[in-house]
């Protein structure tokens, strides 16, 4: 009997779905907090994202997991969606574009894991 190779598509599809869900639930508020409210000192305390507070958050296990999930899954979501839309704008979805899309997500995942682990617990 011939053994069939399992498709790896469900993994990338799952990462796309998880990232899309996180972006839909928390994306808008996160952008508002980090990009608008804190820089303009609206609504939230002025030192919300001060160095001691952010460091403590990134050293907390849950905080670490949250930061990692947001950065990594957002990028896997975007990589998958952009890769599958390349055909729409007349770019052949070959091995090169696959490496660029998923490769950037992969490298960013490794970098965030490396920094978060380096910050300690």
């Amino acid at each position: 009997m011939k053994t069939r190779k399992r498709s790896n598509a469900p993994i990338f599809w799952g990462l796309f779905g998880a990232g899309g869900m996180l972006a839909a639930l928390f994306g808008p508020m996160l952008v508002f907090i980090t990009g608008i409210a804190v820089p303009l000192s609206l609504l939230l305390p002025a030192d919300t994202m001060s160095y001691p507070k952010m460091l403590a958050f990134a050293q907390n296990f849950i905080g670490k997991a949250f930061i990692f999930a947001i950065i990594a899954l957002f990028l896997w979501h975007a990589a998958h969606r952009i890769f599958h839309s390349l055909h729409e704008i007349g770019i052949h979805a070959g091995i090169g574009s696959k490496l660029i899309c998923y490769g950037l997500a992969f490298i960013s995942t490794v970098i965030s894991a490396y920094i978060l682990l380096g910050l300690g617990f």
Partner: protein, 132 residues
């Protein structure tokens, strides 16, 4: 080299001819902004790892008009991502059966949007509590 030059119809702007395809390209295009925001956060994380001076410089950079305009654009794009993400649920998710009946598309989409609003407010409340 072959002298044949077969006619290949151009794909330029095919999606502009139909509002349905325009919407499709816009909602798929939100991924570019999700990626741009994630890279912004990744830079922030790198700066956090480099120490207090680097982190404070990143925070200062977020106050520039350039950054504020970009984040306003990210906000619009990602709100639209959330809106369409749940709007497409009746097509992208398996049907949900309750008491032997399929839950209607309106209920599925409405629950998704409600969950998004609740999650956003919960996040704001949580950040406010941690920071206070």
């Amino acid at each position: 080299m072959s002298k044949r030059r077969p006619y290949v119809r151009s794909m330029d702007g095919w999606w502009k001819k139909n509002p349905f395809y325009v919407e499709y390209m816009v909602h798929e295009g939100t991924a570019l902004f999700v990626a741009a925001y994630a890279f912004t956060l990744l830079v922030g994380l790198v700066r956090l790892g480099q120490g207090e001076a680097a982190w404070t410089a990143w925070l200062e950079a977020l106050k520039s008009p350039f950054s504020l305009v970009f984040h306003a654009v990210f906000l619009v794009a990602i709100v639209y991502h959330a809106f369409t993400w749940f709007k497409l649920f009746p097509l992208t998710m398996p049907p949900i059966i309750v008491n032997g009946k399929k839950v209607g598309p309106g209920v599925v989409v409405g629950s998704g949007w409600t969950a998004a609003v609740v999650a956003a407010l919960a996040l704001l409340g949580l950040v406010w509590r941690i920071a206070a």
